[in-house]
Amino acid sequence: MRHHSPWGVAARTLGAVGCLAVLVGPVPVAAQTPPAEVSGTQAAASDTLLDDTFRIDIDTITATLDWYPASGVVDGTARLDFRMRAGQSRAVFNFTPFATSRTAISRLVLDGRSLGPQSATDVSIVSVSGTQQKFIELLVPLDPAQPHTLTVDYRLGVPTVYPRFSSEVNDIRGQGNEAVWPTLNTPHEMARHLLTFRVHDAQAFRFVGSGQSSFTSSGDVQQWVLDTQRAVSSYSVMFVLLPAADTEYREWLIDGVTVRALAYAGVNLTETQNRLTSWLPELRRRFGPFPAIHGLSLFLFSDTGGGMEYYGGTVTSLSALRHEVVHSYFGCSVVARTYPDSWYDEAVTAWFEETMRGIGHTALPASYRGNWVGARSPVSIGFSTLAYTDGASIMQAIADRLGGTDRMTEFLRYVVGRATFAPFTTFEFVGFLQDYAGIDMRTQFLNWLYNGGEPAAAIGRAISAPGEAKPEDLNPPWFLRRHGQTGGR
């Protein structure tokens, strides 16, 4: 993701300039303690933590979203087909509207049995140590051996200032599509998504999304069915609905990739096409075929600014386009196991895209000591923005060890071939490097990302989470409204 909102830039500039009084060097480290191997026990502990926290394995998410632009309402019906993870018997899911106001859900059916969304005996909202993310726990024991189905009817409020309904994922904040449909907000949980969007409005709309889509209409109802065609991380699913009158739409076939570009009027689509015409073949040459089955869907909102990557898609400015398209490989297909581990995809993407533009990176020195993966629980959301800078320098350090940019991209192609849609951790990434080139950088990674210590401590802290899970008091009904409306510009 790249974020370039004016105030975001201002804030970052301030932060940076505020810190520019001195050029800062890394903390000198007198001696580096050789770290111990991350044992299989620790890896298993991490897996156990993830299973204890997320509990279910979703096969398919099927949702129908009826959007009424004039009234700012979306009526949704979502169905989760899932199985329990090993050792789990009570299902959980993430769904922000319900976690903040139980009134968002009108019907809850688990395996044909109606549950009371307001019932304290059927549903509990729980907190988990290590994250602010709330989990909705269904207090009904389930058979681990059987598949299960959860159906949820709900209503969402959306802004009415302008008729736009789109995914608003922000991976830096750890905000995924759990704001729109029930799911699990963690990168490693992948499910096929079958999403039906129905727009109830007289004016014509356009749609692009992360998957194959089909369109039908009947009267004032325009309908798109989006199929990701494979299991993907829920937070990587993109959808955009916009008035046709305000947008332009183009389709191109570039290097065998079908590109569907939706843009506000005024965005330079000619330049968009030109950039992709050179970029997509470069990516294919370096990393292999474009990973998304359906091709590439774009929503270009501006010529300048940031962007957010999605599976086979991006909501982006023209200036961030190349960066976001690299994420189709790293981040949306080659997926990190946890949010904290997803630093790697920003690091790879920033390093590669900037290197290709002639922007060099300095290898992160061996004396650098950071803790920006180790400081976060595996179940936490978001990742460190140091990934863009210091992370890119980590990639440069690997490139230097491998012998240059070409050797580095060959290694990354190896990672694509080995780990596409097979979520991995930071240490598994280190293992890939050892397997590929016999280079062991475990010590450096521990120093750079875990403060030189074993990640066991973080795992140990977080693993107690389920035991500490406690019911969450609901905020009063006015909480969201009050905080959402102050200070509008």
Partner: protein, 326 residues
């Protein structure tokens, strides 16, 4: 009307009246006289207040005030507390020994010390919701808090000096005149700053601690108007005011800085970097994008590019003290 009620006040009143009407008073009332004969010595000690304007040093205050208020002009929810302050006031103390070489002239030497310190803090919080259909995210909430606590300036100077004084008697107890002192000033300065930046569009928590120390020296001169009121034959009150010059152009020292980052859901510090620079203090260019435009200025730094910093401790001084004659 205030009357002189106590014995001390009465004595002072008498002397003041006597100084103004010396020729009219009977001789019996003229008990003492200030020493005004060649060869007489005087030991003076004065202290007071000084006004300074060390612009290069205070640039840090201007920067921080701008940083804290960068969204002040925007129509958003905001709260402010505290007030970042510049270093403006000092406490000058001077001790000198003079010898009257003629009836109206005296020479001598002494030592001046100037101490100045200003510690202040300020905080700001901003919150707004962006609803922009043409943005990357349709609706986003921005919440940020900024704090500088403290911003602390401290200067100390030590100025050995020689002096030349001229005064004339006004009556028998008051002498008015001027004093020129010249010497070499040795200055030390310190800049300490801690800031916290939290939030924004993302959940960030950045802490920054800065500690700069430096010292240097330069020529110094004071030009003062003086007044001396004899209390006894050997003791007098001194009042003086004037301008003191001390601009130190070559400050060298150290800069220690620690940055700590703990963003998002990190349960502990993600990155802590400490650095030290040594060398000359310079004015490093800095800019801040605010809601009302781009602010450009400088901040004191070491190891960065910029013109040498001048520690300007020149300014008006007003001092009072006592003089012992012997």
């Amino acid at each position: 009307m205030r009357t002189c009620r106590t014995r001390g006040w009465a004595r002072l009143c008498v002397m003041l009246a006597a100084s103004l009407t010396a020729e009219a008073l009977p001789a019996a009332a003229q008990t003492t006289a200030p020493p005004a004969v060649a060869g007489a010595w005087a030991l003076d000690a004065v202290a007071g207040i000084g006004k300074v304007s060390p612009d290069d040093l205070n640039a840090r205050a201007a920067y921080d005030a701008t940083w804290l208020n960068y969204l002040r002009a925007a129509q958003i929810t905001q709260e402010h507390s505290g007030d970042i302050r510049e270093l403006k006031d000092t406490l000058p103390v001077s001790v000198r020994l003079t010898k009257r070489i003629r009836r109206n002239w005296s020479v001598g030497g002494g030592m001046s010390v100037v101490f100045g310190r200003q510690a202040s803090s300020e905080g700001a919080t901003y919150r707004y919701t962006v609803t922009d259909p043409k943005a990357q995210e349709y609706q986003r909430t921005f919440a940020q808090s900024l704090e500088v606590d403290p911003l602390e300036f401290e200067v100390r100077t030590l100025v050995p000096h020689g002096l030349l004084g001229f005064d004339i008697g006004l009556g028998r107890r008051v002498r008015l005149g001027g004093l020129l002192a010249a010497g070499w000033g040795f200055a030390k300065c310190t800049l300490r700053r801690s800031s916290i930046s939290q939030g924004g569009f993302y959940v960030t928590n950045h802490r920054d601690d800065l500690d700069m120390t430096g010292e240097g020296s330069g020529p110094s001169a004071d030009l003062l108007l003086t007044g001396r009121l004899a209390l006894t034959s050997r003791v007098g009150l001194l009042l003086e005011g004037g301008f003191a010059w001390l601009n130190v152009h070559d400050i060298t020292g150290t800069l220690d800085r620690t940055q700590r980052i703990q963003d998002g859901e990190a349960s502990s510090v993600e990155l802590e970097q400490a650095s030290r620079s040594e060398g000359r203090w310079v004015n490093q260019a800095a800019s801040i994008q605010t809601s009302s435009g781009t602010w450009k200025g400088t901040v004191p730094s070491i190891g960065a590019q910029g013109a040498p910093l001048t520690l300007s401790l020149s300014g008006w001084q007003f001092r009072a003290g006592v003089s012992f004659g012997f």
